[in-house]
C-alpha cells in the first residue's frame, strides 16, 4: 500500500486570502494550444464562465510561452468583458470591478511536457515504484534502467547518452538494504553525463530516492556533476512505498530547473500564484481528490494525438500511465499496427475497403489536425479510438498492481489458490466513475458515441457512471485544488463534468438468446421492468439531473456486483445519453465472422442511436 500521495510542492504558494478570491484565471499551456478559463464567484458559488484558446508560443519564432498565454487570456477577457492584461503585457491582480483577476494559476505540458529517466535496482520493485512516482508527478518516463534489465553497462550508458531527459530519478534498495546496486547505477549514470533538454549551461537535476544509507556514497559518485537532490526512499521497506516526497521534488525541480530554462517560463512562473504543475500531474490530483472525497473508485482517460493517459484511483491508490504510442493522429498508425486492422474493423458496422482505410490512417498521421468529414471517416476514427483506449487500459491494468516482493501469509486452505504478488488493483466491478477527455471523446458529434466508445473499450461491469470533461478543464482544476480546493470541487461538480449516464453491465459470459438479466427501473415518470438476453443493449432515457432506482437480477453465474446470480438495487444518475443496460459478455466477445460481427454491431448502433441519419 502506498503512503499518502497528496502532492504539495515544497515551493510555497503565495499568501492568499481564500475568502477574497472571486475571480480566478487559469491556463494550461499545451503543446499546440494554450487554453484559458475564467472562474467567477456567482451567488456565493464558483462557476466556470468563459473560455479562450490561442496557439502555444514556446517554439520559434516567438519562443516565449507568455505570448500565447496573453493571447488566450485576452480572448477570455473579451468574452467576459474584463480586462486581464495591462499595457505592459502582464496580468492584472487583484480584481477590481471589471479589471483583473484575484489569482492566476497555470499548468504546462508544452514542449513535450516533463520527460524523465528513471532508474532502480529491480525493475518490478524499486524501479517500478520510482516510475509510479514520476508518472504520478505528471512526467513522461522515457526509459527505466535497472540492475536486472539484462543490458550490459556500456549499453545502459549508451542509452542514457541518446536521451535528453529533463531530470533523472534514481531509486533502489530498502533503507538498510543494498548499497552496491544503487551505487552501481549511479556509477553508470555519472559517466554517461546526460545532457538536459533545455538550457545547456545548467546541471542535470537528479533526485535520489533510494536506500538512505547509500545516499552519501551516491553523492560521492556524482560529485558536482549533477544537481543532486536527496529525498526519502520511495521504497523504505518492501511492504510499502512512499512516493509523495519524490513527487514533490519532481514538481520543485520541474519549476526550478526545467521550466526556468524553457522559453518565457521564468516570466510565467513569476505571474502564477501557485507553482506551475505538469498537466497530467494536475489531472491526477483532481481525480484523486474527487475519489477521496466521495470514497469512490474512478478512472480517467485523456486520449490525445500522440499519447493516451490513463489515471485510476482504486481503494485510494492513485496510478497513472502514459501510453506513448497510442493516439489518434501522430500515433494512429501504431494503434492500427498494435491492435491489427481486423480488430479495428470489428467495430465498423458496414463494409470498408482496407486499402482505403490504410491511406486514411497515413493521411491522419501526416495531417494530424484534420477531422473526419464523412460518416464513414467518423465511424472508422471511433473504431480506432476504441482499440487505442482498450490497449491503453490494458497497459494501465498491467502497471497498476499490488507491490511485488512482499511476504505472503498463507493457510493450508490456500494450497490450490496461491497467487503471486503484483496483481492488478484495477477492478471494473468496483469502478464507480469513468471520466473521458481528449478530442475524439470530447468532440464526438453525439454523446451516445462517447458513451459507447468508453463502454466498448473499458468494459465496465456492474454500475458505472460515465462522464466527460466538458472542455478539458481538469488540469486547471487540479492546480486550483492546490490553492483553493473548495472552488476546484465546486467547478468540477457543476461545470467540468458532463454526465453521460450510467452503464449497468453483467459480468460473465452471456449466451445469445438466453435471458441474462431482469431489471426494474423506478424514477420520476419512470416505471419500467423487463429482461435482457445475452448480447443485447438497451438505452433508457434518463436525462441529466435525473436519478432512478434500478434493481437488476442477473441470471445463472452472471454478476452485477452482489455476487453471481444475486440481485442488486442502486440509485443511478442520468445524463446526456441515459441509462444503458449492457447484457453483452465480459470480456466482450465479437464473432470472428465479419458478416456476423457487422450484423451484431449494426444492432448495437441502432439500439444506441449512434449514427442517426
Amino acid at each position: 500500500m502506498s503512503h499518502n500521495q497528496s502532492s504539495h510542492s515544497h515551493i510555497t504558494h503565495k499568501a492568499l486570502d481564500l475568502d477574497k478570491i472571486n475571480v480566478i484565471l487559469a491556463t494550461d499551456c499545451g503543446s499546440t494550444t494554450t487554453k484559458a478559463i475564467l472562474i467567477e464567484k456567482i451567488d456565493g458559488h464558483y462557476r466556470q464562465t468563459h473560455r479562450g484558446e490561442a496557439p502555444t508560443t514556446v517554439e520559434k519564432p516567438v519562443a516565449d510561452v507568455t505570448v500565447g498565454v496573453t493571447n488566450a487570456v485576452t480572448e477570455v477577457g473579451e468574452l467576459a468583458g474584463r480586462k486581464f492584461v495591462d499595457d505592459n503585457g502582464e496580468i492584472i491582480r487583484p480584481a477590481n470591478g471589471n479589471v483583473g483577476c484575484d489569482i492566476y494559476i497555470s499548468t504546462s505540458s508544452a514542449g513535450g511536457g516533463l520527460q524523465m529517466l528513471v532508474a532502480g535496482v529491480v525493475k518490478e520493485m524499486s524501479a517500478a515504484s520510482a516510475t509510479r512516482a514520476a508518472l504520478g508527478a505528471g512526467a513522461i518516463v522515457m526509459e527505466t534502467l535497472s540492475s536486472n534489465d539484462k543490458r550490459k553497462p556500456y549499453e545502459q550508458i549508451q542509452r542514457i547518452r541518446e536521451l535528453r531527459p529533463d531530470m533523472i530519478l534514481l531509486a533502489g534498495g530498502t533503507d538498510g538494504g543494498t548499497k552496491k546496486h544503487v551505487v552501481g547505477l549511479a556509477e553508470i549514470i555519472a559517466p554517461a553525463k546526460p545532457l538536459p533538454r533545455f538550457g545547456s549551461e545548467y546541471r542535470m537535476p537528479v533526485i535520489y530516492a533510494g536506500n538512505k544509507e547509500a545516499a552519501e556514497l551516491v553523492q560521492d559518485v556524482f560529485k558536482d556533476e549533477v544537481e543532486l537532490k536527496i529525498v526519502e526512499n520511495v521504497r523504505p521497506v518492501m511492504e510499502s512505498e512512499y512516493l509523495s516526497p519524490a513527487r514533490d521534488s519532481i514538481h520543485d525541480l520541474f519549476l526550478e530547473h526545467v521550466m526556468a530554462h524553457a522559453p518565457g517560463y521564468d516570466k510565467l512562473i513569476s505571474w502564477a500564484d501557485a507553482p506551475i504543475m505538469p498537466t497530467p500531474g494536475a489531472v491526477g490530483d483532481i481525480l484523486k481528490m474527487i475519489a477521496d472525497r466521495d470514497q469512490i473508485n474512478a478512472v480517467g482517460v485523456d486520449i490525445g494525438g500522440a499519447t493516451t493517459d490513463v489515471f485510476s484511483v482504486f481503494d485510494g491508490v492513485f496510478n497513472r500511465t502514459v501510453s506513448a504510442n497510442l493516439g489518434m493522429s501522430y500515433s494512429i498508425s501504431n494503434v492500427c499496427t498494435e491492435a491489427t486492422m481486423a480488430k479495428v474493423l470489428r467495430w465498423v458496422h458496414f463494409d470498408m475497403d482496407e486499402r482505403e482505410l490504410r491511406n486514411r490512417v497515413k493521411n491522419k498521421m501526416i495531417r494530424p489536425t484534420t477531422i473526419p468529414q464523412t460518416r464513414e471517416a467518423l465511424v472508422f476514427e471511433q473504431a480506432v479510438s476504441r482499440e487505442a483506449l482498450r490497449l491503453a487500459y490494458q497497459q494501465h491494468k498491467e502497471f497498476a498492481t499490488t507491490l511485488k516482493g512482499v511476504q505472503q501469509q498463507r493457510t493450508v486452505g490456500d494450497v490450490f489458490s496461491q497467487q503471486t504478488g503484483g496483481n492488478t488493483i484495477v477492478n471494473n466491478m468496483t469502478l464507480n466513475l469513468l471520466v473521458a477527455s481528449g478530442g475524439v471523446l470530447s468532440h464526438a458529434p453525439n454523446m451516445n458515441q462517447t458513451s459507447m466508445m468508453l463502454i466498448d473499450a473499458f468494459e465496465p461491469e456492474g454500475f458505472t457512471t460515465l462522464a466527460k470533461d466538458s472542455i478539458f478543464m481538469m488540469p486547471h482544476l487540479g492546480v486550483l485544488a492546490s490553492v483553493h480546493p473548495q472552488a476546484a470541487l465546486e467547478v468540477f461538480e457543476k461545470d467540468c463534468l458532463i454526465y453521460l449516464g450510467t452503464c449497468v453491465a453483467v459480468k460473465g459470459l452471456t449466451k445469445l438468446g438466453e435471458v441474462a438479466m431482469r431489471y426494474t427501473v423506478r424514477g420520476k415518470g419512470l416505471d419500467l421492468n423487463g429482461s435482457m438476453n445475452g448480447g443485447e443493449l438497451k438505452l433508457i432515457p434518463l436525462w441529466e439531473g435525473e436519478t432512478a432506482t434500478v434493481l437488476v437480477e442477473p441470471t445463472g453465474r452472471l454478476d452485477v456486483g452482489a455476487g453471481p446470480g444475486r440481485p442488486l438495487e442502486k440509485e443511478v444518475r442520468g445524463g446526456t445519453t441515459g441509462l444503458i443496460f449492457d447484457a453483452r459478455s465480459r470480456p466482450l466477445l465479437l464473432p470472428d465472422d465479419r458478416l456476423q460481427g457487422q450484423k451484431m454491431i449494426k444492432q448495437w448502433v441502432e439500439t444506441m442511436e449512434l449514427y442517426p441519419n
Binding site: V121, V122, E124, M125, S126, S147, N148, K150, G172, G173, T174, G176, G177, T178, K179, K180, H181, G184, R235, M238, K404, G405, V406, Q407, Q408, R410, T411, V412, D414, V415, Q418, Q419, T420, G421, G422
Partner: protein, 404 residues
Amino acid sequence: MKQTMKTLVGSRWTWMMLCVVMAWNAVTVSAAPPAPPSDIQVKDYPLDDGTAVKVIFKRSPDDTGAEETNFTGYSIRTSSEVNGFFKEALEVKKAADATEAAEVVDARVTGLKEGEPVFVRVYAVGADDETSTPIQTAESITPVMAWFDFHQIRLLILVIVICSAVILFIELARRGYPMTVRKVAGLEAIDEAVGRATEMGKKNLFIPGVQDINDIQTVAGINILARISRTVADFDSEIEVPTCRSLVMTAASETIEGAFLAAGRPDAFDPKSIYYVTDEQFGYVAYVTGWMVREKPAACFYFGAFFAESLILAETGNSVGAIQIAGTAQPSQLPFFVAACDYTLIGEEMFAASAYLSGAPEELGSLKGQDMGKVVAAACILFGCFLAFISPDLMKLIFEETAL
C-alpha cells in the same frame, strides 16, 4: 442250532439290524466315485510368461449337464514327479447344460514355474469329494516363456497411447502449436523472491532436501536450483547452499557455476557458498536454522525430500521475514510447507518445473503427453468403477476373459 436260528429270526431286534445293514449297502452303492474323464492332452500355454499350461480332456460320462446329479466337477492337480504328491492347481465346474457337456474341457492351469517340467492329473469329483481314478499324460510338460505375454497387452496399449501422445505433442509443439501450461505461482515467484533479497541486500538460501542425489526429488530440486541461480546471477545477488549430502553439494556447485556462466557472470560465482554440513538430519537442521537466524536471508527456497525438519526450517524462515518457496513430493510434509511458506509446489508440479521454466517445445510436449496418459488412466479408473457399479459380470468378462 435250529433253536438258535429260530430265536434269531424271530427276534424283532434281528429284523431291525437286517434293515440297517441293507440300507447301508444301498447307500454305499449310490456314492460310488464318478467315472473319470478321458483323452487328456497337456500343452504349453502360448504367448504367456511361462507359468501356465493348457489342459484339454473329454468330460466324464457322469458330466451330463443335469442339475440333479452327484457329479460336481473336476480337480486338476500338478506335480513335478510322475508319482509324487499332486497338489490341486485348478477346479473346473461341471457342465452347466447338455450343450456344454458335449464339449471338451479346455482349462488353463497357472501358477507353475517357468522351465520346470510338470505332470498333470485330472480327477472327476463326486458329491462327497469322492474322486475318480485320475487320468494323466505319460510325459511331463515344461511351460515356456513366450517372446510376448499376451496377458499384458493392456500395458502395451497404455504404453502405445502414452508414447503416441508424447510424440504427438512434442511434434505439435515443434510446429508452433501453443502449449499452455497452468501458471504455477511458486515458480513465477522465483524472480520476486530473488528481487526482494536483492533490494534488501540479503542472501538467498537454497535447501535441496535431506536425501542423496539418487532421490528423484533431490534431482528435481537441483533442476530448479539452476533456474534460481540464473536469476540470482542476473540480479547480481548472492546464494547460499548448505547441503546434507556430499554428492548433492557437488551437483549443486556445478549447477550454480553453470548458471552463472550462462548468465555471463562467471566472476560472481562463489564456490564457498555451496558446502556440505553433515549427514545427520537434525545436526544439519540445527546448522541451517542457526545460519538463518544470524544472516536473516530475504528469500528461502526448499526443494527436495523433506521429513520432520520441514516445519522447523519453514517456521524459522518465516520468523526472519523471508519470502519462502518450497516444493516436495512428501505428502506428509506439504501441509507444513503450505502453512509456513509463501508458495508451495505440490509433488508433480516440482517435477514439471523443468518444462515450465525452460518453455522448450520438446519438454512442454512431453509434459502435455504425460498429462494425456494421466487423463487416460483416470478415465480407465472411472470406467472401471462405473462398470463395477452397474454390472460386475460385464466387468469380469471384459477384464478377465479378454486378457485386458
